[in-house]
């Protein structure tokens, strides 16, 4: 590691100056207030939930590929209430569907992208010793953890977990079994966790920047986390309120979301009535559309870091990327009703939300274009993080482009709520965001552990995943164009018009199961490299941003001497410089 030349005025509470008592095991690794430990806790919990959510989907894919067929071995283990004789019940299928979505979004991707990478990397990248509010940070993780446990426990209550989709549309969700109550309580914990985290990120990024680290010297990743934190802070409270209202509808006899005159199975439902089911949708999507950007922005940030590092040149159009990002953040609050085009929308509302939807595509196009153009003129190193990062670009591109016909509400009529939508957002989040997250794991693993992950295993993981992801999701576009609805227990087998494309269900399913096999090298690599990976110094990728000034792994308090920023984040291959990178932290 290189010596920062200028003598930085030490901050008053710099870690190594104030001796702190040695922490016991519980305070050091479990109830830690250190952002790095919390980041790793978030990341590992998030990865476990991703694996769990993926497993739920693999079970669903069995039923979709072979509707009504008994699942060998595993099917019987799941019990008579779920899979009698190994054959799946529609109730269980709906549980799996609702919980797959909920877990992947709220317990997998966001905790890993924001809680994991945000916590671990942001303080290091801005040269801080920790987050601004370490105890709030710990509270955020444990609130998330409780939310996760509540969600998992909901599978065990009578009637099983929530069955109303991750969107929990009313009245279906209000009139559902106990699992839905658990879902709502779980969501309240998760939202609380995100709010605590968001406040912490905003404060940390503004207040704890290293000397000289102006906003336009931020690594793009810090910018993405900054904007993401605002999205979480401003979009989640309406859903928290909505979750409490739905809970009241379920347990306290209110009717926020229940209209009068509901008749279920011939029986008049005894509720007060007078509510509106569409109110829930507005409150839900007011969060859930910004949430889409919460899912994608940190991924974009990771990809930007890795592309700059491995092309050995600055990002092209850094400023326009930052401005686009901020604009994207603002716009993401006024597009939500494009999820509701088929609820009976008049021309004025539809025109407004279509227009904002088209407008929001432009900053995404600018960012993606800048990242692609950044490749031009580089000296590209194809290590595993870079492979995942460059694959993100076309995969996210497919996801973004296919949003276009869905955003034009006339084109959306036949495509709405079909497999086309499933394919669209999975391209954004699965080979999009999740590839970016894998890239980030391979990239910052040496910072967290002092060792690199194995490259050969990494490449097997990458190429296998790339092929399988496309085998899983590409057929879904064709099924959607053919008109097959999503969330069908038999994958569309009941419908005559779906028959010509039904075989694609089998293709997708085998793609998914093979995808699982290609995650084994990753899981093995992850644990093996912790102990046996190639040892590295503080800056194994010859990177420029401030996290690489810290030793690997960074000690409590992160930096031996408070770092300063002397230049922009990506000064690679500067003409006339002695080496091909000029770190931000070197004078």
């Amino acid at each position: 590691m290189t010596e920062p030349a200028a003598v930085a005025a030490p901050k008053p509470h710099i870690a190594h100056e104030v001796p702190h008592e040695a922490l016991g095991f519980w305070r050091k690794y479990v109830f830690s207030t250190d952002h790095k430990v919390i980041g790793i806790q978030y990341a590992i919990t998030g990865l476990l939930f991703l694996l769990f959510g993926f497993s739920l989907m693999m079970l669903m894919r069995w039923q979709l590929a072979y509707p009504g067929a008994a699942l060998p071995l595993l099917g019987r283990l799941l019990g008579e209430a779920r899979m009698p004789g190994g054959t799946m019940l529609p109730e269980f299928y709906n549980e799996l569907g609702a919980m797959h979505g909920t877990i992947m979004v709220f317990l997998g991707v966001v905790p890993l992208a924001v809680g994991g990478f945000g916590n671990f990397v942001v303080p290091l990248q801005i040269g801080a010793q920790d987050m601004a509010f370490p105890r709030l940070n710990m509270a955020s993780y444990w609130s998330f953890f409780l939310g996760g446990v509540t969600m998992l426990a909901s599978f065990l209550v009578p009637g099983g977990a929530a069955q109303g989709g991750w969107t929990s549309y009313t009245p279906l969700s209000v009139l559902a079994g106990t699992g839905q109550t658990m879902w709502l309580i779980g969501m309240i914990f998760l939202i609380t966790s995100s709010l605590l985290g968001a406040i912490n990120f905003i404060t940390t990024i503004i207040q704890l920047r290293a000397k000289g680290l102006t906003f336009l010297r931020f690594p793009f990743f810090v910018w993405t986390q900054f904007v993401t934190a605002f999205l979480l802070l401003l979009a989640f409270p309406p859903l928290e309120a909505a979750a409490v209202m739905q809970l009241m509808d379920r347990v306290a006899g209110t009717s926020f979301f229940l209209p009068s005159g509901l008749v279920v199975s011939g029986q008049v439902v005894a509720v007060a009535g007078g509510g509106n089911p569409l109110l829930w949708q507005h409150l839900f999507w007011f969060l859930a559309h910004p949430e889409v950007y919460v899912l994608i922005l940190p991924g974009m940030g990771i990809v930007a870091e890795i592309i700059a590092n491995n092309t050995r040149k600055p990002l092209w159009g850094y400023r326009s990327m930052v401005y686009s990002l901020v604009f994207l953040g603002f716009m993401s609050f006024i597009v939500w009703a494009h999820h509701m085009f088929m609820t009976g929308m008049g021309t004025a509302m539809a025109a407004f939300f279509q227009t904002t939807t088209m407008i929001i595509s432009i900053p995404s196009v600018v960012i993606l274009t800048a990242l692609i153009i950044s490749l031009w003129g580089g000296s590209i190193r194809f290590n595993t993080p870079m492979l995942f990062a460059v694959a993100f670009l076309p995969m996210f591109g497919i996801g973004g482009l296919t949003g276009l016909p869905l955003g034009l509400n006339v084109a959306d009529i036949p495509l709405h709520d079909t497999y086309y939508v499933i394919a669209h957002f999975h391209y954004v989040v699965a080979p999009g965001t999740i590839f970016a997250l894998f890239a980030g794991i391979y990239y910052w693993f040496p910072k967290a552990t002092g060792r690199k992950m194995n490259e050969t295993l990494g490449k097997i993981h990458f190429f296998g995943s790339l092929v399988c992801m496309n085998v899983v999701f590409m057929p879904m576009f064709l099924m959607g164009l053919a008109g097959v609805s999503r969330r069908l227990f038999d994958g569309g087998a009941s419908y005559a018009f779906a028959q010509p494309v039904l075989h694609l269900n089998v293709v997708s399913s085998w793609g998914a199961w093979t995808l699982a096999i290609f995650q084994i090298p990753f899981i093995f690599n992850f644990f093996w490299s912790i102990w046996k990976g190639e040892q590295t110094d503080g800056n194994p990728w010859q990177a420029t941003t401030i996290e690489w000034a810290a030793p690997s792994p960074p000690p409590h308090g992160n930096f031996p001497v408070a770092p300063e920023a002397y230049r922009g984040p990506y000064e690679y291959s500067v003409p006339g410089a002695a080496k091909d990178f000029l770190p931000q932290y070197e004078a």
């Binding site: 009139l175 209209p259 088929m342 088209m358 031009w376 591109g397 276009l404 006339v410 164009l481």
Partner: protein, 266 residues
């Protein structure tokens, strides 16, 4: 030009516009993907480390990307203002007068579609949730209301005359359902507490579609498109499109049945 997309056979007057918009949008997407993808792939190969050991600090100097971004914005604006917004306005604002159309009430419930015709008096009879009986009167139709005497109801069977504007008043008894008929390019959520009208003109009879598709068992299907419970996947109805004469004959037969039933009650 939209056959390559694999959309279902088309059988409504307005559907062609929707198909063209989907088609042109996909052409535009394909152009962008090939353009970006080509540049991307070329850059990866051309600037790999072994071939290009020293990176260029500045990279691309031209402003071409700015023009492509402006191009994207312009095409999106055209798709939006020239096509999507006006076509949508035609769907929701320019509903034909009820005197020129056939008005049908379709009410979703777990997991079936109740179809309700006003009959020759063109007036829908009163319904009341207190009268609902799952087997004999799923809509709670009050047969003592004079307007209800000639009302025809069916379960999961929607009969329509060809080439006549159809107004479907969509309602739901319990959950949110979605009335989707792929061949008509029609989809609309049925939201409990609301009555939402949609309209379309079916222009191919079931009989003719059987010839066109070469499938003697072809039937238009109503596919529920919104998760509504454990039976969502089998919430399937059928649409039979007939010539005006055939439709009238069917309607007359239903009226006869009704008369027979009311005679029994007398």
């Amino acid at each position: 030009m939209t056959e390559w997309l694999g959309l279902p056979a088309l059988a409504s007057a307005h559907g062609g516009q929707i198909d063209s918009l989907i088609g042109w949008t996909h052409v535009f997407m394909l152009i962008l993907f090939v353009g970006w993808g080509g540049f991307f792939a070329y850059a990866l190969i051309r600037f790999r480390g072994s071939r290009h050991p020293v990176a260029n600090y500045t990279g691309v100097k031209s402003n071409t990307s700015k023009y492509s971004e402006i191009g994207v914005a312009v095409v999106e604006a055209i798709l939006l203002f020239a096509f999507s917004i006006p076509i949508w306005a035609a769907r929701v604002d320019h509903v034909p007068p009820e005197s020129e159309a056939l008005v049908v009430q379709v009410t979703g419930e777990q997991f079936a579609w109740n179809v309700h015709y006003a009959g020759p008096d063109r007036k829908f009879g009163r319904t009341d949730i207190k009268l609902i009986d799952l087997q004999s009167n799923p809509l709670g139709l009050d047969r003592s209301d004079p307007a209800a005497k000639d009302d025809v109801t069916t379960l999961n069977q929607l009969y329509l005359p060809v080439n006549k504007p159809i107004i479907v008043r969509l309602r739901s008894k319990d959950m949110i359902h979605s009335f989707g008929v792929p061949e008509f390019r029609v989809k609309q959520d049925a939201v409990p507490g609301l009555t939402i009208p949609i309209w379309f003109v079916p222009n191919v009879t079931t009989a003719e579609m059987r010839i066109r598709t070469g499938n003697p068992e072809f039937q238009y299907e109503i596919a529920c498109a919104q998760l509504c419970g454990l039976g969502h996947y089998r919430m399937r109805g059928f649409v039979t499109v007939q010539t005006a004469e055939e439709f009238q004959k069917w309607m007359d037969a239903e009226e006869e049945k009704l008369k027979g039933e009311s005679d029994v009650f007398k």
